[in-house]
Symmetry: C2
Subunit: 100 residues, 2 copies
DNA sequence: TCCATATTTAGCTAAACGTCTAATTATATC
DNA sequence: GATATAATTAGACGTTTAGCTAAATATGGA
Protein backbone atom coordinates (compact mmCIF):
# COMPACT_ATOMS: atom_id res chain seq x y z
CA UNK A 1 0.00 0.00 0.00
CA UNK A 2 1.93 2.94 -1.28
CA UNK A 3 1.07 5.86 0.91
CA UNK A 4 1.53 9.53 0.33
CA UNK A 5 5.19 9.67 1.24
CA UNK A 6 6.15 7.40 -1.65
CA UNK A 7 4.73 9.84 -4.19
CA UNK A 8 6.20 12.75 -2.26
CA UNK A 9 9.56 10.99 -2.31
CA UNK A 10 9.68 10.51 -6.06
CA UNK A 11 8.35 14.01 -6.74
CA UNK A 12 11.82 15.44 -6.16
CA UNK A 13 14.27 15.36 -9.10
CA UNK A 14 17.31 14.88 -6.88
CA UNK A 15 15.74 11.82 -5.29
CA UNK A 16 14.76 10.42 -8.68
CA UNK A 17 18.37 10.74 -9.77
CA UNK A 18 19.49 8.93 -6.61
CA UNK A 19 17.16 6.07 -7.49
CA UNK A 20 18.51 5.95 -11.04
CA UNK A 21 22.05 5.79 -9.68
CA UNK A 22 21.20 3.00 -7.25
CA UNK A 23 19.68 1.18 -10.15
CA UNK A 24 23.21 0.23 -11.16
CA UNK A 25 23.82 -1.44 -7.81
CA UNK A 26 24.40 -0.45 -4.21
CA UNK A 27 26.52 2.60 -3.47
CA UNK A 28 27.85 4.32 -0.39
CA UNK A 29 26.41 7.65 0.68
CA UNK A 30 29.64 9.30 -0.36
CA UNK A 31 29.68 7.73 -3.81
CA UNK A 32 26.14 8.89 -4.43
CA UNK A 33 26.92 12.38 -3.16
CA UNK A 34 29.77 12.72 -5.67
CA UNK A 35 27.17 12.97 -8.41
CA UNK A 36 25.59 16.07 -6.89
CA UNK A 37 26.64 19.57 -5.96
CA UNK A 38 24.76 19.39 -2.71
CA UNK A 39 26.16 19.26 0.83
CA UNK A 40 26.46 15.90 2.57
CA UNK A 41 23.83 16.76 5.19
CA UNK A 42 21.35 17.68 2.46
CA UNK A 43 22.08 14.40 0.70
CA UNK A 44 21.55 12.58 3.97
CA UNK A 45 18.17 14.27 4.23
CA UNK A 46 17.19 12.87 0.82
CA UNK A 47 18.35 9.40 1.85
CA UNK A 48 16.11 9.71 4.87
CA UNK A 49 13.09 10.60 2.77
CA UNK A 50 13.70 7.68 0.41
CA UNK A 51 14.32 5.34 3.32
CA UNK A 52 11.15 6.49 5.05
CA UNK A 53 9.20 5.71 1.88
CA UNK A 54 10.75 2.24 1.80
CA UNK A 55 12.30 2.98 -1.58
CA UNK A 56 15.86 2.21 -0.45
CA UNK A 57 17.60 -0.06 2.03
CA UNK A 58 20.72 0.63 4.09
CA UNK A 59 23.56 -1.59 5.24
CA UNK A 60 26.58 -0.55 7.25
CA UNK A 61 30.04 -1.91 6.48
CA UNK A 62 32.75 -0.26 8.51
CA UNK A 63 32.54 3.50 8.30
CA UNK A 64 30.39 3.45 5.24
CA UNK A 65 26.67 3.12 4.72
CA UNK A 66 25.70 1.23 1.59
CA UNK A 67 22.41 2.19 0.02
CA UNK A 68 20.48 -0.01 -2.37
CA UNK A 69 17.16 0.28 -4.14
CA UNK A 70 14.15 -1.56 -2.75
CA UNK A 71 11.79 -2.59 -5.51
CA UNK A 72 9.09 -4.10 -3.30
CA UNK A 73 7.06 -0.88 -3.36
CA UNK A 74 7.42 -0.55 -7.11
CA UNK A 75 4.52 -2.83 -8.01
CA UNK A 76 2.20 -0.95 -5.68
CA UNK A 77 3.17 2.39 -7.18
CA UNK A 78 2.50 1.10 -10.68
CA UNK A 79 -0.88 -0.25 -9.66
CA UNK A 80 -1.95 3.09 -8.20
CA UNK A 81 -0.67 4.92 -11.26
CA UNK A 82 -2.61 2.67 -13.58
CA UNK A 83 -5.70 3.18 -11.49
CA UNK A 84 -5.28 6.95 -11.72
CA UNK A 85 -5.15 6.86 -15.48
CA UNK A 86 -7.83 4.26 -15.95
CA UNK A 87 -5.57 1.56 -17.31
CA UNK A 88 -6.33 -0.74 -14.42
CA UNK A 89 -9.61 -2.19 -13.23
CA UNK A 90 -12.58 0.14 -12.87
CA UNK A 91 -13.37 0.77 -9.20
CA UNK A 92 -16.99 0.04 -8.18
CA UNK A 93 -16.96 3.10 -6.00
CA UNK A 94 -14.47 5.89 -5.89
CA UNK A 95 -12.67 4.81 -2.77
CA UNK A 96 -10.92 8.10 -2.23
CA UNK A 97 -7.64 6.35 -1.63
CA UNK A 98 -5.30 8.14 0.75
CA UNK A 99 -6.92 11.54 0.71
CA UNK A 100 -4.86 12.70 3.66
CA UNK B 1 8.87 13.98 -21.68
CA UNK B 2 7.34 14.13 -18.26
CA UNK B 3 8.97 16.97 -16.44
CA UNK B 4 9.09 17.70 -12.78
CA UNK B 5 5.63 19.20 -12.53
CA UNK B 6 3.95 15.94 -13.49
CA UNK B 7 5.45 14.13 -10.51
CA UNK B 8 4.75 17.13 -8.31
CA UNK B 9 1.15 17.09 -9.52
CA UNK B 10 0.50 13.47 -8.63
CA UNK B 11 2.31 13.78 -5.30
CA UNK B 12 -0.77 15.38 -3.74
CA UNK B 13 -3.55 13.03 -2.51
CA UNK B 14 -6.32 15.48 -3.37
CA UNK B 15 -5.11 15.70 -6.95
CA UNK B 16 -4.80 11.92 -7.20
CA UNK B 17 -8.40 11.63 -6.09
CA UNK B 18 -9.43 14.18 -8.73
CA UNK B 19 -7.75 12.02 -11.37
CA UNK B 20 -9.52 8.93 -10.09
CA UNK B 21 -12.85 10.75 -10.28
CA UNK B 22 -12.21 11.96 -13.82
CA UNK B 23 -11.38 8.40 -14.69
CA UNK B 24 -15.11 7.77 -14.81
CA UNK B 25 -15.62 10.46 -17.44
CA UNK B 26 -15.57 14.22 -17.67
CA UNK B 27 -17.02 16.27 -14.85
CA UNK B 28 -17.64 19.93 -14.15
CA UNK B 29 -15.51 21.75 -11.60
CA UNK B 30 -18.52 21.88 -9.32
CA UNK B 31 -19.26 18.18 -9.58
CA UNK B 32 -15.68 17.35 -8.71
CA UNK B 33 -15.67 19.81 -5.81
CA UNK B 34 -18.69 18.07 -4.28
CA UNK B 35 -16.45 15.15 -3.41
CA UNK B 36 -14.17 17.30 -1.26
CA UNK B 37 -14.48 19.48 1.80
CA UNK B 38 -12.27 22.12 0.29
CA UNK B 39 -13.20 25.62 -0.88
CA UNK B 40 -13.86 26.22 -4.57
CA UNK B 41 -10.78 28.44 -5.00
CA UNK B 42 -8.57 25.73 -3.51
CA UNK B 43 -10.10 23.19 -5.86
CA UNK B 44 -9.49 25.55 -8.75
CA UNK B 45 -5.86 25.73 -7.71
CA UNK B 46 -5.58 21.95 -7.91
CA UNK B 47 -7.19 21.97 -11.36
CA UNK B 48 -4.58 24.48 -12.41
CA UNK B 49 -1.73 22.29 -11.22
CA UNK B 50 -3.12 19.25 -13.03
CA UNK B 51 -3.78 21.32 -16.15
CA UNK B 52 -0.27 22.73 -16.07
CA UNK B 53 1.12 19.20 -15.93
CA UNK B 54 -1.00 18.27 -18.93
CA UNK B 55 -2.81 15.65 -16.89
CA UNK B 56 -6.27 17.07 -17.56
CA UNK B 57 -8.07 18.96 -20.32
CA UNK B 58 -10.74 21.65 -19.99
CA UNK B 59 -13.76 22.50 -22.09
CA UNK B 60 -16.26 25.25 -21.45
CA UNK B 61 -19.97 24.74 -22.04
CA UNK B 62 -22.07 27.63 -20.85
CA UNK B 63 -21.23 28.60 -17.33
CA UNK B 64 -19.55 25.34 -16.57
CA UNK B 65 -16.05 24.07 -17.16
CA UNK B 66 -15.83 20.38 -17.96
CA UNK B 67 -12.64 18.65 -16.94
CA UNK B 68 -11.44 15.38 -18.40
CA UNK B 69 -8.35 13.23 -17.92
CA UNK B 70 -5.56 13.42 -20.48
CA UNK B 71 -3.76 10.11 -20.79
CA UNK B 72 -1.11 11.20 -23.28
CA UNK B 73 1.41 11.83 -20.52
CA UNK B 74 0.69 8.51 -18.88
CA UNK B 75 3.03 6.45 -21.02
CA UNK B 76 5.89 8.84 -20.36
CA UNK B 77 5.33 8.70 -16.62
CA UNK B 78 5.35 4.90 -16.68
CA UNK B 79 8.56 4.84 -18.70
CA UNK B 80 10.33 7.10 -16.22
CA UNK B 81 9.03 5.08 -13.30
CA UNK B 82 10.27 1.85 -14.82
CA UNK B 83 13.64 3.44 -15.43
CA UNK B 84 13.83 4.54 -11.80
CA UNK B 85 13.24 1.03 -10.55
CA UNK B 86 15.37 -0.71 -13.12
CA UNK B 87 12.55 -2.47 -14.90
CA UNK B 88 13.25 -0.65 -18.11
CA UNK B 89 16.35 -0.57 -20.29
CA UNK B 90 19.71 0.04 -18.61
CA UNK B 91 21.03 3.53 -19.35
CA UNK B 92 24.58 3.65 -20.81
CA UNK B 93 25.30 6.69 -18.71
CA UNK B 94 23.32 8.11 -15.89
CA UNK B 95 21.81 11.01 -17.75
CA UNK B 96 20.69 12.83 -14.65
CA UNK B 97 17.25 13.37 -16.11
CA UNK B 98 15.52 16.54 -14.95
CA UNK B 99 17.66 17.33 -11.98
CA UNK B 100 16.19 20.81 -11.67
C1' DT C 1 43.50 7.01 23.70
C1' DC C 2 43.71 10.25 20.05
C1' DC C 3 42.90 11.53 15.39
C1' DA C 4 40.95 11.07 10.78
C1' DT C 5 37.07 9.71 7.90
C1' DA C 6 32.07 8.84 6.87
C1' DT C 7 27.69 10.09 7.76
C1' DT C 8 23.95 11.76 10.45
C1' DT C 9 21.42 14.98 13.61
C1' DA C 10 20.27 19.70 15.11
C1' DG C 11 18.93 24.08 14.07
C1' DC C 12 18.32 27.80 10.81
C1' DT C 13 16.44 30.23 6.49
C1' DA C 14 14.16 30.99 2.11
C1' DA C 15 11.08 29.17 -1.08
C1' DA C 16 7.17 26.38 -2.25
C1' DC C 17 2.71 24.58 -1.08
C1' DG C 18 -2.18 24.09 0.36
C1' DT C 19 -5.71 26.53 2.22
C1' DC C 20 -8.70 30.42 3.07
C1' DT C 21 -11.62 34.93 2.14
C1' DA C 22 -12.60 38.64 -0.98
C1' DA C 23 -12.87 40.24 -5.47
C1' DT C 24 -13.21 39.42 -10.44
C1' DT C 25 -14.61 37.27 -14.87
C1' DA C 26 -17.87 34.75 -17.72
C1' DT C 27 -22.28 33.13 -18.90
C1' DA C 28 -27.34 32.80 -18.55
C1' DT C 29 -31.87 34.67 -17.47
C1' DC C 30 -35.24 38.11 -16.48
C1' DG D 1 -29.14 46.54 -17.86
C1' DA D 2 -29.62 43.92 -13.33
C1' DT D 3 -29.16 39.76 -10.98
C1' DA D 4 -27.86 34.96 -10.14
C1' DT D 5 -24.69 31.15 -10.82
C1' DA D 6 -20.09 28.88 -11.99
C1' DA D 7 -15.56 29.25 -11.58
C1' DT D 8 -11.30 31.75 -11.47
C1' DT D 9 -7.72 35.16 -9.95
C1' DA D 10 -5.59 37.90 -6.20
C1' DG D 11 -3.58 38.19 -1.94
C1' DA D 12 -2.65 36.58 2.72
C1' DC D 13 -1.33 32.99 6.10
C1' DG D 14 0.55 28.77 8.34
C1' DT D 15 3.06 24.55 7.25
C1' DT D 16 6.26 21.87 4.80
C1' DT D 17 10.47 21.35 2.34
C1' DA D 18 15.21 21.63 0.48
C1' DG D 19 19.16 23.72 1.24
C1' DC D 20 22.98 25.40 4.38
C1' DT D 21 26.59 25.42 8.57
C1' DA D 22 27.95 23.54 12.91
C1' DA D 23 27.94 19.84 16.04
C1' DA D 24 27.43 15.00 17.15
C1' DT D 25 27.93 9.94 16.37
C1' DA D 26 30.25 5.84 14.60
C1' DT D 27 34.04 3.35 12.92
C1' DG D 28 39.00 2.37 11.90
C1' DG D 29 43.83 2.91 12.61
C1' DA D 30 48.19 4.88 14.82
Amino acid sequence: MPSDNVFKAISDPTRRKILRLLNGGEMTAGQIAEHFEISAPSMSHHFGVLKNADLIDVRRSGQQLFYSINTTVFEDVMTVLMELFGTGKEPDTISGGDTK
